[in-house]
Symmetry: C2
Subunit: 362 residues, 2 copies
């Protein structure tokens, strides 16, 4: 393998298959797909989605919207609107169909007073994740919010935006479906609150676990998952995908061997993979699953071969007997990351199996 | 505060005071200081160390050595030598006094066969951190290692390199000193193993907790801490410093408010701070301490104001009653990071209190 430093290897076929699976599912269910591009942050990879028929996206910052606005004209910033970036928001709104996420009424007043171009507003609803947004039970505030949106001529109340982020605590498909079921009950309740006053709202819902696993999304119009393009070991543990669907691996030079505990030191640490981790059933922390690169991709090593600990540049990988004997200092091992969004953000570029380098937003 | 996106604010006076304190301590103890520059990764900040009398540094990658070699001519790469970067190592060795870290004999053979210019070798000793290196008890392997170094004309056996990284598990100065004490016993044992055959070795020891707290370093010649230039909330918890010594804060726009649990959503998350966290005595995860910026720096808010959770771009900050009332969407709050090295690596530049922008290695 022709690399000398940590390099993020992307299996293009797997990523494209992941995109097609999700797009086909959305189409079959009569839902639109608005994939979240914070995972890959790349115009090139965005084109793979376009080729699959996707024409609208979500991003997580104004900066990311600016980057993608060169090739996409319908963008939702699925992050609470930062009123310190009004100039950039105004500029974007003059160029593309821009959807903003808001849940504090004071933000609506600031936008209403400052925006020169029309934007659409999605109301952020807290559907159980408990990070941000209005609770579905806050019926009065929700209706009032819609009325304030309508009081400003540049603002259109376009929909509600929900993220079932608590699905990340699931550890089986059953657990994901249980969370999803409770979310769908909230969606039904929201329709009862909103449909009379605001009959044309788009109900946007997204998170990779539920979008990967659930078979029905009653009351939902738009799916907004992001991570599924690459998946990762956290998604494998949650039950969203199999390990064979994970499309990125960090190629990491082996820089040391310890015979006493069958570990190798990798040049590949927290500044490459992030410090995200999963906890195994036995309580052991796990920072990634080991793979061995082949001429056509990689072979996933047994679960006993994993990244046990991580520091700024070091990763400590446990290997099994056989692999420990075969691996030498100067070899390159791969790590399937725990959280591919964070790893991609850190690495800033991809190398595909065909040795093509794909750049990301800087 | 004139910022609109997450920005790493550096209190230059605090950083310079931290540098001077450590340099004075090393001088008073008759030790040389070789600060680890992976924390700040900046030529500009490096010059503050030069002004304090520092003339040798440690880094954690060949790339970082290349960056600093423009202004520093004595550099230790305090990371197991990556033999896939021999060309770059050769180039560095032709230009500066280069010290490499090695503990596998096979690496010595590769270096001996490939290097065209002299380099010095530090043997990595595992002094209790259990990440990498030979154990002090492996007397035979240690002596043999030294002999292999001496068998290659370009290689000089210059010293042993130890990192008491297990001091990061300490939660009090007493606990740090206890770990330090055990390390010093190992150092004494190492001297007994090595002094006869290799009388001129430099014993290099470093980690911010022990270097900040311990008063004596018997048998040590060189201190190699890095984090102390900025410190962070993990070091406060360990007992290495006070919260007033922390020299960096992430300025983060407030983008949302939730009255029900007195939290605010910050534009400032894992891609800015890293996911490093500490666990409080009550079991609560903590991703940073909140500060309020002033015209001359920042005021540290009470411990009840902290970052409770973090995702890719979001931080969820708990505030006390008074602060929650005063803070509005569009304000800027600061976060003292849990791990300043990781935060700096992610942010790639600093803004000082005088509005100067300091760039880092890209």
């Amino acid at each position: 393998m022709n690399i000398s430093r940590p390099t993020l290897i992307l299996d293009k076929e797997k990523a494209i298959a992941n995109i097609r699976t999700m797009q086909t599912k959305a189409m079959n269910l009569g839902l639109s797909l608005r994939p979240h591009f914070k995972t890959h942050q790349s115009l090139t990879i965005g084109r793979w989605f376009k080729a699959s028929g996707v024409d609208q996206i979500a991003v997580s910052s104004v900066r990311m919207a600016q980057y993608f606005a060169d090739e996409w004209d319908d963008i939702t910033i699925a992050f609470p609107t930062n009123v310190l970036e009004l100039d950039a928001i105004n500029q974007l709104a003059s160029k593309i169909r821009l959807n903003l996420t808001v849940y504090n009424v004071e933000v609506l007043h600031i936008l209403g007073a400052a925006l020169l171009h029309p934007v659409s507003i999605f109301l952020k609803i807290n559907i159980g994740n408990n990070r941000a947004g209005l609770h579905p039970s806050q019926q009065e505030e929700i209706i009032q919010f819609g009325q304030v949106v309508q009081s400003y001529s540049q603002l259109t109340f376009k929909g509600v935006l929900m993220h079932a982020g608590h699905s990340y605590s699931a550890r089986s498909q059953e657990a994901i479906l249980d969370i999803h079921q409770r979310c769908m009950q909230q969606v039904e309740w929201l329709h009862r609150c909103l449909d009379q006053d605001f009959p044309d709202l788009i109900f946007s819902y997204g998170d990779t676990p539920t979008c990967s696993v659930a078979k029905a999304f009653p009351g939902i119009h738009e799916l907004r998952p992001g991570n599924f393009v690459f998946y990762d070991m956290a998604q494998v543990q949650i039950g969203s995908c199999t390990v064979d669907q994970v499309a990125v691996a960090l190629a990491s030079p082996v820089v040391g061997k310890q015979a006493d505990d069958q570990t190798v030191i990798l040049y590949g640490g927290g500044i490459h993979l992030s410090k995200d981790r999963i906890t195994m059933e036995d309580g052991q922390r796990n920072f990634g699953r080991m793979v061995r690169f082949t001429s056509t991709g990689w072979d996933v090593l047994p679960p006993s071969c994993y990244l046990r600990s991580i520091s700024q540049e070091h990763g400590v990988a446990v290997l099994d007997n056989e692999m420990f004997k075969r691996i030498e200092v100067g070899d390159v091992l791969g790590v399937l990351p725990v959280h591919s969004c964070m790893t991609a953000d850190l690495m800033k570029s991809y190398q595909t199996d065909e040795k093509e380098i794909i750049q990301m937003m800087k």
